[in-house]
Amino acid sequence: MTQTQLPPDKMPPQEVAQPPQMIQDQENPDHWTLNFGPQHPATHTTIHLVMKLDGERVVDITPHIGYLHSGFEKLAEHHTYDQYVTVTDRMNYLSPMANNIAWHHAVEKLLDIEITPRCKYARTIVAELARIQDHLLNVGEAALEVGAFTAFIFCFNDREHIYDLFEALCGARFTTSWTRAGGAMADIPDGWDQMVLDFCKHLPKTLVEFRKLLNRNRIFQERTRNVAVMSYEEAINYSWTGPMARGSGVKRDLRKDEPYLAYPELEFKIPIGSDGDVFSRYLVRMEEIEQSISIIKQAVKNLPSGPINVDSDLRVPLAEKTETYGSIEGLIHHFETVMTNRGFHAPVNECYGAQETANGELGFFLVSDGTNKAWRAKTRGPSFIHLQAAARLMCGHTISEVVVALASMNVIAAELDR
């Protein structure tokens, strides 16, 4: 069979393989625009950066976010206070426990509930484990972005131990949903405190090896020093909090400044950086891990006995299981608490509760209309606030430094987009 050649104007349009999309700037032919993301290994999640490049140097950068927007805040208006904790797991998924605790901190502030001493200490231990979990991934990521894969694997190994601890605590490794208003889903199981102490004994060994690999490593220092520098005034003006701000020398930590949980009774230090660059943030995070280990050891040693939930007369926590199965009042209380059209009711008012999580200040602004659901639950997520400064931080750097800067910001898209 012979193939007939069509005349050129009748030919179907040919599929031409598109080269990677780089668009030349019409006014300045040296400037090219490159799309970085939304699917790119260095963004770790879905962030889209549109960079205008002069050679390898970034002239202008525009972040596009919202690829992971899932309407969490709208959902919060249709869930009861205890139901919404399952959604907070999905926000900063590096440390879901910290989100749970921060959410119920805000809810308890709205309801004006004072939790029991045992619950305070238990939540402190768990919050610090979550901080270690988050920081370990982040310092590992800082190493990974400059090509040090070994350090990253070291960190992941220890994060597995923390997941094991959380699994023993609440049955879930990742989507924990451990806290409840006025307490927790379950008390600490027998032997869990010993597991935590074993972990605290084991972790410093990894950190020593980690430091040996990175702290005086010339490649690591040259890739991270004087990269993405933020000054003290700018860090405040850009609303930065947490290790990002402390890396620039801002003395602010909610654990000391607005004490909550068991922190006023424990001894620890707040590391402050001076240079405001990626290396400084890395050092702050490493030192915070050390401090967290010390906090956990103290808290386990002083863990009070007694109930984990507040007195059930408040009608906020579930009734004891023996009460539920043993008495009609306990059974009624159980159903009154779990049924979505009942539950506990918050006063008609609005309040803001924030905690220091690994990433910075994680706060929830709650407006209550007097029912069992929030009228408005705004998340003040640190990732969203930090990434605003992307253009300020990354302009003038090369693409490889943008990757390092992005890792140091620890932007989690699920919390960024909510």
Binding site: G66, N237, N349, Y352, V367
Partner: protein, 171 residues
Amino acid sequence: MSDHPTVPLLIEKFGQQHIDVREFNGNTTVVIPKSILVDVITFLYNDPACGYKQLTDVWGVDYLDYPEEQNARFGVLYPLLSIDKNRRIIIKVFLSEDDLTVPTLNGIYKGSEWSERETAEMYGITFEGHPDPRRILLCDLFEGKYPLRKTYPLKGQGERESFTPITTESA
């Protein structure tokens, strides 16, 4: 009435009739008229006795059918933080439906940029003078729709179903 140290300074500077203070569980909220918003924020930023150098976030609230009577349908809240003095104060303005504009604070706090963009697209509030008033979290299908308003249904208005995939030609 309120023992927050900044409140007397505000009353002295702007007059009792413009300052409405609300206290609840450790939060101090000061409701002010929209016309003096920038003056109040500039005062709080510059005055050495206040020193509110950081804006934590910007929050919008829709008070449609809220059980307690409010000044107007929408509220915009600006939580401010003084790091030196370790103090917080929340400044609140009310916006009625016929005038949903409020001046931007981006000239004072750079950190207000994205929070204002988010509030703008979620509630349809215009921040006048904003340097980059594009939408931030939502796609173009939400043109003229404001998801966090109480009139918007939880399941959406069919945006998910009418989403068109982006091709090389349309991008």
